[in-house]
Amino acid sequence: MKHSVNRPPTPDEDDASEGFEKDEVTLREIINVKLVESGEKENLMELVRDRLVECGWKDEMRIACREHVKKKGRKDVTVDELIRVITPKGRASVPDSVKAELLNRIQNFIVSAAL
């Protein structure tokens, strides 16, 4: 069966037999699509950005980036490298209040999307 290169697997055509996990992946995609279509994803993004800036998280990340850049030298850094460096720290250092707020909103959305 031919698959176009970039197309994500759809449930009907794909051969993968990991039923439950695959369902989740698909579910995630469906959610994503719904988020984008309704505009809620944009709202959430803006909310996340605002909150993370307010609480100084972004500044912390930028400092971490700068440290890494200083170590590695200005010319050698790549974006991927920076992402790799700050992702674990970034994910861990999101304030609980921000996380709770976002999760709440996302859950409300999922529920209201009747999934």
């Binding site: 994503n32 200083k70 974006v79």
Partner: protein
């Protein structure tokens, strides 16, 4: 798994994943921004920052130095071409309205009086009739004049004589209007 609990757990997990997605996007944004700043050298390096700090301290010391005349220090700054600009423009040139020699730094106040834009000057101008003023402006275009005296003389005469009649140009010296009968 069935029932509300099952749904809830998958919901929580789902929302966690969505949340992580969002955070990852923001992280990617930050990383990309920092990368750009780093590569373009926009964010000053530690050494550069230190040097700039040193330079600014030096500059501040120079400004605060009491041995320098403060006024000259602030005004006699050198621009990027190495020119200095004195605080009061000192060049002398001729006013295009009245033709007198004016110091450039005093040109604006001079113009106020000269062209009748200031309060006192305008009050003076309205003493002669508005028609005379209109005539003066009308006659300005054909013949630019450089000395005030024939102007004011003719104005006065017109004011006393017939206003709004003369089209004659007075700078030629022939004031035909007011030499009645010859």
């Amino acid at each position: 798994m069935s029932g509300a609990d099952g749904n809830k757990s998958s919901h929580t997990e789902l929302s966690s994943q969505v949340f992580l997605d969002l955070v990852d996007s923001v992280i990617a944004d930050v990383a990309s921004e920092c990368h750009r700043v780093a590569r373009l050298g926009l964010d000053r390096d530690l050494e550069v920052v230190e040097e700039e700090l040193r330079l600014s301290v030096e500059a501040r010391a120079k400004v605060a130095d009491p041995s320098n005349n403060l006024e000259t220090n602030t005004k006699f700054v050198v621009d990027i071409f190495g020119q200095t600009h004195p605080p009061v423009a000192s060049e002398v040139f001729n006013c295009m309205n009245c033709g007198r020699q004016i110091v450039a730094g005093r040109f604006a106040p001079h113009l106020e009086k000269c062209m009748g834009k200031g309060r006192k000057a305008r009050a003076k101008a309205t003493r002669s009739t508005t028609a005379a003023a209109q005539n003066r402006y009308a006659r300005h275009s054909p013949n630019p004049r450089y000395s005030p005296y024939p102007n004011s003389v003719s104005e006065n005469q017109l004011a006393s004589g017939s206003p709004g009649v003369a089209d004659e140009d007075c700078t030629n010296g022939t004031v035909r209007e007011n030499v009645k009968g010859g």
